[in-house]
């Protein structure tokens, strides 16, 4: 299956060729009636299917937010599960309209792949997961270790840098999917799994006895994760970017899924502008005036999305930390809607 997909993506890459690309993604999406959103093949809390086969997660909510802004309906999303290796080709070739797959914003990706990063919906960093059996308490003690990594990620490069800087050696085992990565770890093929810290918490849940493993304290890199769109379509870039910002502003103003209707009567000019009661934000984006209202109504604000998918209301129990609002000591800072 995976091989088929790689093959078809390769064909799609070559067919970058013949497809006469219409630069206007918004028109395209509207004409299709659904938003094609690239997600992962299963990262707990970010994009994974639940027991009833529904896609859930922080990255999935990003897809839903954009669909809500465009259609007023969060269900009009076609989820395209992609491995780390496949994701950029899928976006470049136009197979998907946006990529929301725990993708790290780096200079190379932003400048040489023909892509644009539309914000940061999760500030992450790379960490290590080890078995408690090997008696290691710090990443500095990992000299000579065998490390399981997922192919095609910034993780591979950070790992090299970190081990080099600390004059240590390692053996990389590079797998295609996070599923095979954790299988390799469980079967003892490697001593350590390295990945974005947020994903490690998800992996802990997949181990039979979660107390037999632990996440080491070192965070060795900056991993700003966010949604990605193709370069050269600023209108669409704006829509994705501001969908995220709308969720941040909603949290800041205390607008939630539950109270959004009653907030409509608010006298606060900031809230009025977000909900489309005044101002031209929707029109300027090429969307309905109620675009942000629809996002909050269907998906909720950023805090709600965070807590239910990865935070205290989820099995992962990740604290807000850097992902708190700027007013609460975090980095999430929504530009004003005015």
């Amino acid at each position: 299956m995976k091989f088929l997909k790689t093959a078809s993506l390769s064909v799609a890459a070559l067919a970058l060729a013949s497809s006469v690309v219409s630069a206007d993604t918004l028109d395209n999406v509207k004409a299709k009636g659904t938003l094609s959103c690239g997600v992962s093949t299963g990262i707990a809390g970010f994009s994974a299917t639940d027991s009833s086969g529904q896609w859930k997660g922080l990255d999935v909510d990003m897809c839903k937010a954009v669909a809500s802004a465009v259609f007023g309906d969060a269900s009009k999303v076609k989820y395209v599960p992609l491995t780390a290796k496949e994701r950029f080709t899928a976006l470049q070739s136009g197979e998907i309209d946006m990529l929301s797959r725990s993708t790290t914003w780096t200079n190379t990706r932003d400048t040489s792949l023909g892509l644009n990063f539309a914000g940061v919906n999760y500030y992450d960093g790379q960490g290590f997961l080890v078995s408690t059996k090997i008696g290691v308490n710090s990443a500095k003690e990992l000299d000579g270790a065998t490390v399981c990594i997922q192919a095609g990620t910034t993780t591979e490069l950070n790992l090299t840098d970190y081990f080099k800087a600390n004059k240590m050696t390692y053996k990389p085992i590079t797998y295609d999917t996070s599923g095979q990565t954790i299988e390799g770890f469980k079967s003892g093929r490697c001593d350590v799994v390295t990945s974005d810290a947020s994903q490690l918490y998800g992996l802990v849940l997949k181990v039979k006895d979660p107390s037999s493993v632990k996440v080491l304290p070192e965070i060795i890199s900056k991993e700003p994760l966010g949604p990605v769109v193709r370069q050269g379509d600023d209108k669409w870039f704006n829509i994705v970017k501001w969908s995220h910002i709308a969720m941040l502003n909603a949290e800041e103003f205390g607008i939630t899924k539950a109270n959004v209707d009653s907030m409509k009567g608010s006298k606060n000019p900031g809230i009025k502008r977000i909900l489309g009661e005044s101002g031209e934000a929707g029109k300027n984006l090429g969307l309905d005036a109620k675009w942000a209202y629809n996002i909050i109504k269907n998906v909720g604000n950023y805090g709600e999305s965070f807590e239910s998918n990865v935070g205290k209301d989820s099995p992962l129990k990740i604290s807000r930390g850097l992902n708190n609002l700027w007013t609460k000591g975090g980095l999430q800072y929504g530009a004003p809607i005015r």
Partner: protein, 394 residues
């Protein structure tokens, strides 16, 4: 007659002349293909340019920055993507060569086994062929990989043989010979041994032709090939030492390591491809007329001699062409290694490198070119072998 022909030619218009017509159609078809290709390429480069994606092959000299598990040439993270290409290519060739050797041996044995008069042997061979031929290769690779990993102990509880060979879920560790200066003598002894075996073969054939007497060439050759270098090795004071892997920290260090990914992949590819080779061998042997075997038996030849001297030489003509196909398939199937993380070309180059530099078209084209070249080389070699095996018609 002549005038008649001329008259007819005059009647036919230029474009109605069948010869001219054939040329016109071919030119038109060729032009069509050219225009189509040009349109596709042109459109592709325009689109890429418009989207701000880098093009060209400059990335081959930029630093790769990631580690690779197994490399036949010296590689470290600061080497270029071009070097990654080479490392991946060599790993692909390594697993293909190992796979082809074992698939051929297993295939030959099982193919002959299926025709055995022994009920057990023939039924077991049949069950083997029917089972492994009918399960997709990708599943087999994943199965063997997970079986290998699950059934082997961790490094600290390694299975060890003579305290020098270790087997655990990190791989098979074997001692590595470290050669000292005096070792050249051993190599020279080995070369002389090979030369004398070749001479011996000539002599034995000649004697056989003249007197009809057999000479146990195989066993004598093996004896010479082993004895001569060993003797020189001992006489010259054993100019080599073995580096034995030792457990240090997490893993074994030193010696040679065969990683489980390589073992599982080579095993799966051999087992799978061997089923097809076995069928080709069986078909080949069955294609030899029964009378040939009966005639040989009537001459009083042993069963093994009949197989070796009468049946196989004739069967090979039928066997080789389908076996070429299977070799090609094996090489192409090795790209499925990406599922278990064996670092061959598709995994490291059109996987990781592609993701780091994002130039899908260049990288996929290079990868395709590699498989095409490998396949063509195998075809040429095997076709040469095939032409030598064909009946020399006089």
């Amino acid at each position: 007659m002549k005038t008649h022909k001329k008259a007819r030619q005059k009647e036919v218009a230029f474009y109605n002349n069948p010869e001219n017509r054939a040329i016109i159609y071919q030119v038109l078809a060729l032009a069509g293909i050219f225009i189509f290709t040009y349109f596709i390429l042109n459109n592709m480069f325009e689109n890429i340019e418009k989207r701000g994606i880098n093009t060209g092959f400059d990335f081959l000299s930029s630093e790769a920055g990631f580690g690779i598990l197994q490399s036949l040439v010296a590689y470290d993270e600061s080497d270029s993507h071009g070097k990654v290409f080479l490392v991946g290519l060599l790993n692909t060739i390594l697993v293909s060569v190992i796979g082809i050797i074992f698939a051929t041996i297993i295939g030959l044995l099982v193919g002959i086994g299926r025709l055995s008069k022994n009920f057990m042997v023939s039924k077991l061979s049949m069950i083997y062929v029917e089972t492994f031929r009918n399960i997709p290769i990708l599943l087999q690779i994943l199965f063997w990989y997970n079986v290998v990993l699950a059934s082997l102990p961790s490094p600290r509880q390694s299975i060890s043989f003579f305290d020098s060979i270790f087997f655990n879920n990190r791989g098979l560790y074997i001692p590595r010979p470290i050669l000292e200066s005096g070792f050249t003598a051993v190599i020279i002894a080995f070369i002389i041994a090979i030369a004398s075996v070749i001479y011996l073969k000539k002599w034995a054939t000649k004697r056989h032709d003249e007197t009809g007497e057999d000479f146990p060439l195989f066993w004598v050759s093996i004896g010479i090939l082993i004895a001569a270098p060993t003797l020189v090795f001992l006489l010259s004071g054993m100019p080599a030492t073995l580096e034995i892997a030792t457990l240090k920290g997490f893993n074994f260090k030193g010696g040679w390591t065969l990683i489980p990914e390589l073992l599982a992949l080579a095993f799966a590819l051999s087992i799978y491809t061997a089923t097809y080779i076995a069928e080709a061998v069986r078909a080949g042997i069955e294609a030899v007329p029964k009378g040939q075997k009966e005639a040989a038996a009537a001459l009083g030849l042993k069963d093994s001699t009949i197989l070796k001297k009468v049946v196989l030489p004739q069967a090979l003509r039928v066997i080789i062409p389908p076996v070429i196909n299977q070799y090609l398939n094996l090489v192409k199937n090795s790209s499925l290694a990406t599922a278990i993380g064996y670092p061959e070309l598709v995994t490291v180059f059109s996987g990781t490198s592609l993701n780091q530099v994002g130039q899908a078209i260049e990288i996929i084209l290079m990868t395709m070119a590699v498989y095409l070249t490998l396949s063509i080389i195998i075809s040429i070699l095997m076709n040469y072998l095939n032409s030598r095996m064909q009946i020399k018609e006089r």
